[in-house]
Symmetry: C2
Subunit: 335 residues, 2 copies
């Protein structure tokens, strides 16, 4: 049996079960959320890691190295933001062939540094190794906001039946940008830029956690699949109204027929899904100055997944709810 048969999430579950020992008391959040959280004295450390591999997550000649550096850090910032936390320090691992141009790596680091400056992150170390193709792995550490000695966290397990589901910004431009890249699009293209330079709404997650919200996830694999993770971890179902999903205007202009599918299952938008009290969600949006749109609600019973409904309340089947790193999707592969 090979790993593509059980998929990314099957493999994670299997490997987690091998690590059968009791989790230490200081570990507040372990495998299965956007990031891990542990207690360190009177603080709570948040840590996450993400990798980008040449030929899988990016094509070196279709995207600039500076963009790749930016994105490698930004996707990790998104994970910390989706916990309601503050990113602080990053370790950067570069795997690269010995004949890689020094100029390309300079550009990669300039992009990384730009993203680090934008989000207040310091690069504190890393590792450089030889490999057949370039990959960039960032481990990002930060801290949770704390009130009364307790960490203020947005967890996948924090949803309750009746909670509103909201998402920041607009969706689908990243998946459309990936398609543009394959069609020869340049980095000046707005859709390509959305794909290569994601700007996660960090302050929204922080405002939400401070304002009493307790559930969130970032849109990385695809909106419906990511909400599905909340369903699994919270033991609930979810209804999402297709006509409420904020689709990127650039996407709707470029690919009108595919706009809904790319917005709901395309992934890599690195927007933030918030789940909880509608007024608190709206206050978090107003407080951070980042637009949020209510798109559905959590429900008791039924399947633990997100169902996309049309205006008549019938389910729309998009073929795939999102991305699986080991299986890909029915309609899209990364590179």
């Amino acid at each position: 049996m090979d790993v593509s048969e059980i998929g990314e999430f099957g493999l994670i579950g299997r490997l987690a079960s091998i690590l059968g020992r009791e989790a230490p008391a200081d570990l507040i959040v372990g495998i299965g959320d956007d990031a891990a959280v542990w207690r360190a004295g009177d603080q709570y450390v948040i840590a996450t890691t993400d990798t980008m591999v040449e030929g899988v997550h990016f094509v070196a000649d279709a995207a600039s190295w500076a963009d790749i550096g930016w994105k490698a850090l930004a996707v990790n910032v998104s994970d910390i933001g989706a916990m309601g936390g503050e990113p602080l320090f990053a370790l950067v691992t570069l795997a690269l062939p010995p004949d890689t141009a020094v100029d390309d790596m300079d550009a990669l680091y300039r992009g990384l540094n730009g993203c680090a400056a934008e989000y207040g992150v310091a690069i504190a170390g890393g590792d450089i190794v030889s490999a057949p193709q370039v990959s960039v792995t960032v481990a990002l550490m930060g801290r949770a906001q704390v009130a009364g000695g307790e960490p203020l966290l947005l967890l996948r397990s924090g949803a309750k039946a009746g909670d509103a589901i909201a998402v920041s910004g607009t969706l689908g431009a990243s998946a459309a940008g990936l398609r543009r890249l394959r069609e020869g699009g340049q980095s000046s293209d707005r859709l390509v830029r959305a794909h290569m330079r994601p700007s996660p709404p960090l302050s929204l997650g922080q405002e939400a956690a401070r304002g009493g919200l307790r559930c969130g996830i970032d849109v990385s694999d695809g909106l419906l699949q990511d909400i599905g993770h909340i369903c699994e971890m919270s033991g609930l179902g979810a209804l999402v109204r297709a006509d409420a999903v904020p689709t990127s205007p650039d996407l709707t202009f470029a690919y009108p027929q595919d706009a809904l599918r790319l917005a709901c299952a395309g992934g890599e938008d690195y927007e933030l899904v918030l789940v909880g009290d509608r007024e608190r969600i709206e206050r978090a949006g107003a407080g951070s100055g980042i637009p949020v749109t209510i798109i559905g609600e959590m429900i008791e019973g039924g399947e633990r997944r997100a169902r996309l409904l049309d205006g008549e309340g019938s389910e729309i089947n998009l073929g795939s709810p999102g991305w699986d790193h080991l299986r890909g999707t029915a309609f899209e592969r990364r590179a």
Copy 2:
């Protein structure tokens, strides 16, 4: 210009200079030591990362997957130990082809879990991505011991002229084991086992830091090169007496002609170099029950590197002081 021309350490220096912003006050140790350290409230977080790439750091059919899992974590434990710290939580990134056997990844995780249990580490999360070959990246976080509000750290910059240089255990078995693997050696071979199942002397580093020592590094690239990092960061030279270097008996038996060279420049022993007061070093060895051997001393003036001396005080030239990930060495490549 490609990266092999400037080498791993040239590239690190160049990339560090791109990250030109002022380091935040909470960052105690940044790029250039075994691990990064920052203040988190009343604690000090230590974080490090290391990668192993198939075809570069290991050959999948020559070494068992369980060994690869063990080693991927052990080399990071070594870095935390070389700071005098305590490892706590790991993030594990698996990059793997979709046709990888699930059984192989199970075995890798069992090895990882064995090492985690040995050193008291909890696997707190990670990432799984598709890639053309398997690689395992571990980010390991822990904490420094603290006394009077200050962290007790072993730093590369902590050496003073006249300090004794010591090393734990014996050296060279790992490099000899790598040679055995290339000659078709099995994992039951003691030298191969030394290469694939390193057991860093974690308690020695902790005892040393508690006992007032302030300088150390682990033997990863090669003894002379690793001491050379201490020379650079402390602004000193180092003399190492060849007849004092504790060479592995298994190595001396298997490859008597090459024993000194493999012990001094072979690398990957993950033993601990301690630099400081001789009595404190001996007390740390006695307190942890781990043998330490005095092999030389730090000196003022001259080149900032380690010179290996024979019984007459003449320098022995081994051709290369150790391993560079982008250049390899004059006499050995990893796989």
